[in-house]
């Protein structure tokens, strides 16, 4: 296929809004607890010294505290740092409240993560009010209807990539537009690594082609970008920087998985199997609730010495019972060649299928098994997760806590019907 390579900047008016809730988890905690407002706080996976900081507040960021730091390092930078454990339901509720507000403006909105939304107002009555006016109104409504401490940065542009770039120009509480009239001026104020998707390695590729700034990146002819990325990615960047849409893609779910970072080093299969069982039970109820069955199991082990081992297995039969998935996962675990301290245990299933009929088996009464599994799932939904569990899960009460995914929001589809 021949790609058009003589394109200028897209002349279309801006119709895309990118909304980003600033310092999401930490800001929501400050909204909930007014005594924490204006103070350096951080939400961490664990509040212990080696816990990983997943969201510093705006005030904490001013002291150099960043996502991914250990709690002990954050406290070295600011000894008075207040550290909180995550409260996933608080964040999910705010996300759902944001969805309700945004759905008043367009049906074409996509949550990109727990704290990021993309709206396309093209063809909707709200567009006639003006993109910047709509953005300003959304900002006001969030403060009034969800919480006055919450602030969002909004970017407006002809495509999703530039809308996200615009949202990052002034944080927190920014509102910026990148369009055909001002893009050159804005590009000249950015560095390559300010662009989402360009970090050190991609910047080095571009540098090797004589591209050192965002303006150079924009001016570069297509053949140079193709040489830099050695793939179709070069063309995608060519379009993004010119305001043409290339990122309007929603990827469907292809797997379900659960993982657990072990608070103490465990080595043997006997020690790890109860946790594996709990992970499989949690994952099993999730994919069955969504109407799936599976034909593959994957196990991953991250070790304390920095090593990693993983293996996947495609099964000949369609699986739906957590006990059968556990058997496959345990077989993978016992087949692992290493016996050393495990830091993180992860299990996932793939080859999802939503077919309703089951292949009959000679020795196994699958229909009876399906009814038993369905009854257990109903009991757990009625009385709470893990009311009925395998006996091997004894003593795992406090492990595998509710967590919220960072990247996508596919997990939120599981909670949309609960309110």
């Amino acid at each position: 296929m021949d790609y058009p390579t003589e394109l200028g900047f897209n002349q279309k008016p801006s119709t895309i809004l990118h909304i980003d809730l600033n310092s999401c988890f930490a800001t929501i905690e400050q909204q909930a607890n007014p005594h924490l407002r204006g103070k350096p706080i951080a939400v961490a996976a664990y509040t212990t010294a080696s816990g990983c900081i997943i969201a510093p507040s705006i005030e904490a960021k001013r002291y150099g505290i960043k996502v991914g730091m250990r709690v002990r390092d954050g406290k070295l930078l600011y000894p008075g740092l207040i550290v909180l454990a995550p409260d996933p339901w608080k964040y999910r509720n705010v996300h759902l409240a944001l969805r309700r507000i945004l759905s008043d403006y367009t049906d074409k909105f996509v949550p990109k993560s727990i704290d990021e939304f993309v709206l396309n107002l093209e063809g909707y009555p709200s567009y006639r009010s003006g993109m910047l006016n709509v953005a300003g109104e959304i900002k006001k409504r969030i403060k009034k209807e969800i919480g006055e401490w919450l602030s969002v940065s909004v970017g407006v542009a002809p495509n999703r990539f530039l809308a996200k770039t615009a949202a990052c120009l002034h944080k927190p509480d920014g509102l910026d537009e990148i369009n055909k009239d001002n893009f050159k001026e804005i590009y000249s104020s950015l560095t390559l690594t300010d662009l989402c998707g360009i970090k050190i390695r991609n910047a080095a590729r571009l540098n090797a082609m004589g591209i050192f700034s965002v303006s150079d990146f924009y001016e570069a002819p297509y053949f140079r970008l193709k040489a830099a990325f050695e793939s179709v990615l070069g063309y995608y960047w060519y379009l993004r920087l010119r305001g043409w849409e290339i990122d309007d893609v929603v990827f469907g779910r292809r797997s379900y998985g659960n993982s657990f970072a072990l608070p103490k080093p465990l080595v043997s299969v006997e020690e790890l199997s109860p946790i594996l069982s709990k992970l499989v039970c949690k994952m099993g109820s999730r994919f069955r609730h969504a109407g799936y069955r599976v034909r593959g199991v994957h196990l991953g082990l991250a070790y304390r010495d920095g090593g990693y081992w993983h293996k996947g297995l495609t099964t000949s039969k369609v699986l739906f019972d957590s006990r059968d998935i556990y058997k496959v996962a345990l077989r993978l675990l016992t087949g692992c060649p290493y016996r050393k301290a495990v830091r993180e245990l992860a299990v996932s299933v793939f080859n999802l299928t939503s077919q309703d009929s089951l292949q009959l088996e000679l020795f196994d009464d699958l229909e009876k098994k399906r009814r038993v599994v369905g009854a257990v799932d109903k009991l757990n939904q009625r009385w709470g997760d893990f009311v009925i569990t395998p006996a091997r899960m004894a003593d795992t009460k406090d492990v595998v806590m509710d967590r919220i995914a960072f990247g996508g929001v596919k997990e939120l589809e599981e909670f949309m019907g609960v309110r």
Binding site: P34, H35, N93, Q381
Partner: protein
């Protein structure tokens, strides 16, 4: 300092039909009454079939996480904080 607890408490909850807003007015914890000066956030979650309403509220000096079990209509205090580091 943040303290996770699970204590039964008495709570007064008011519903304003004009604003369609529900807000706790005071909480009695360990025999002491704390007037609520601010409702920070209200959210819900389910455990099994039971729906819980969580009110994150503040008195003049303390923060309270108040949880209403909508099946029993009983309140519990799950967290107290003075907004200072541990």
């Amino acid at each position: 300092m943040i303290e996770k607890i699970s204590a039964p408490v008495s709570v007064s909850l008011a519903f304003d039909h004009a604003k369609r807003r529900v807000s706790p007015r005071w909480v009695v914890w360990e025999g002491k009454l704390y007037p609520i000066s601010k409702v920070g956030l209200h959210h819900t979650y389910r455990e099994g079939r039971v729906l819980y309403h969580v009110f994150s509220v503040a008195s003049k000096a303390l923060f309270f996480r108040l949880v209403l079990n909508t099946e029993t209509l009983h309140w519990r205090l799950e967290e107290v904080s003075d907004g200072l580091p541990n």
